[in-house]
């Protein structure tokens, strides 16, 4: 450790001020226990936050999702055969390898950004 001598040269006022500012050490008296219990509470809240949010989100979204799922067959029935027939689709309209790889990379990037934001 480097000691700066300018810090060490004290005049009379310095000594008097030091004496005036000096105080007894503060007893812990359960202070650190209180802080640690607040920290532990925080850890638990952080751990529980995601699962609880996920559960609540699922509960809220469940009903509309079920309604949507039940509506899809009805929707498909009213779509004309010429539009819904996959047999007629040309091969070129299917996603290409580059598109699939690009999509996967995009998904990975989004997940990484999500994780960074969470951190």
């Amino acid at each position: 450790m480097i000691i700066n001598m300018a810090d060490r040269l004290k005049d009379d006022t310095d000594l008097k001020l030091e004496s005036l500012f000096r105080s007894q050490p503060v007893q812990d008296d359960g202070f650190s226990v209180k802080v640690v219990s607040r920290v532990r509470r925080r850890i638990w809240v952080r751990r529980l936050a995601m699962p609880v949010a996920l559960t609540i989100g699922t509960l809220i979204a469940a009903k509309p999702l079920l309604q949507l799922a039940s509506a899809i067959p009805k929707l498909l029935m009213i779509v004309p055969d010429s539009m819904s027939g996959l047999d007629n689709l040309p091969l070129s309209s299917l996603p290409q390898n580059t598109t699939v790889i690009f999509g996967a990379m995009l998904l990975f990037a989004v997940m990484m950004v999500g994780k960074m934001l969470e951190d």
Binding site: I3, N4, A6, D7, T13, D14, K16, L17, E18, S19, L20, F21, R22, S23, P25, V26, Q27, D28, F31, S32, V33, K34, V35, V36, R38, V39, R40, R42, I43
Partner: protein, 187 residues
């Protein structure tokens, strides 16, 4: 707390907290440094209850920000910086609160009733600190009460060393001009 933990250095404990989210290791850091942090905040706020509340908040901020402590400088210097930032944030909030109270016609002096009994020496200190600005007060407390070097004060108060030296010089001048420092009794 076992002796193995007692002998562990601050840096090792910090590494343990950051790597494993170890609340016990953090508790040891709190136990080691609570006295200095609480004394610093008690002198800054002149209110024991408020200072202890702020000290708890400061340690919680330290828990959240511990990964930003790069091991440069002493850990207590870094903790004092967190405590000083917590104090400034709370002061900003409370000044807004006092404005609202004044607007509502309340006497904002209610806090004085919370102040615990302090010795005559402390009231002398109050008078000295009253002539200083927030920054000057913090620098003087860090220097004379916490015994930090100019470099450590610079780190804690986010000031260049040159500024720290000039703040100390200016504060001493202010105290000399305002009081006959020899008239006061010293421990």
């Amino acid at each position: 707390m076992n002796s193995a933990v007692d002998e562990t250095s601050d840096h090792e404990l910090v590494a343990k907290v950051v790597a494993q989210q170890d609340a016990t290791a953090f508790g040891e850091l709190v136990r080691r440094h609570q006295s200095q942090i609480r004394n610093f905040l008690r002198k800054l706020t002149r209110d024991t209850v408020l200072a202890d509340d702020l000290a708890q908040d400061a340690f919680l901020h330290a828990w959240n920000k511990l990964h930003t402590y790069a091991g440069k400088g002493t850990f207590i210097g870094w903790l004092l910086k967190v405590a000083y930032t917590t104090f400034l944030q709370s002061k900003r909030k409370s000044s807004r609160y006092n404005e609202i109270l004044e607007e509502a016609g309340h006497d904002a002096d209610a806090r004085s009733s919370r102040q615990t009994e302090e010795s005559d020496e402390i009231s002398d200190l109050d008078k000295f600190l009253a002539v200083l600005t927030n920054d000057e007060r913090a620098v003087m407390i860090l220097s004379y009460a916490c015994g930090l070097s100019h470099r450590e004060i610079g780190d804690a108060a986010d000031l260049p060393i040159g500024t720290v030296k000039s703040v100390i010089f200016r504060s001493k001048e202010k105290i000399r001009e305002s009081f006959d420092i020899d008239d006061h009794k010293y421990g």
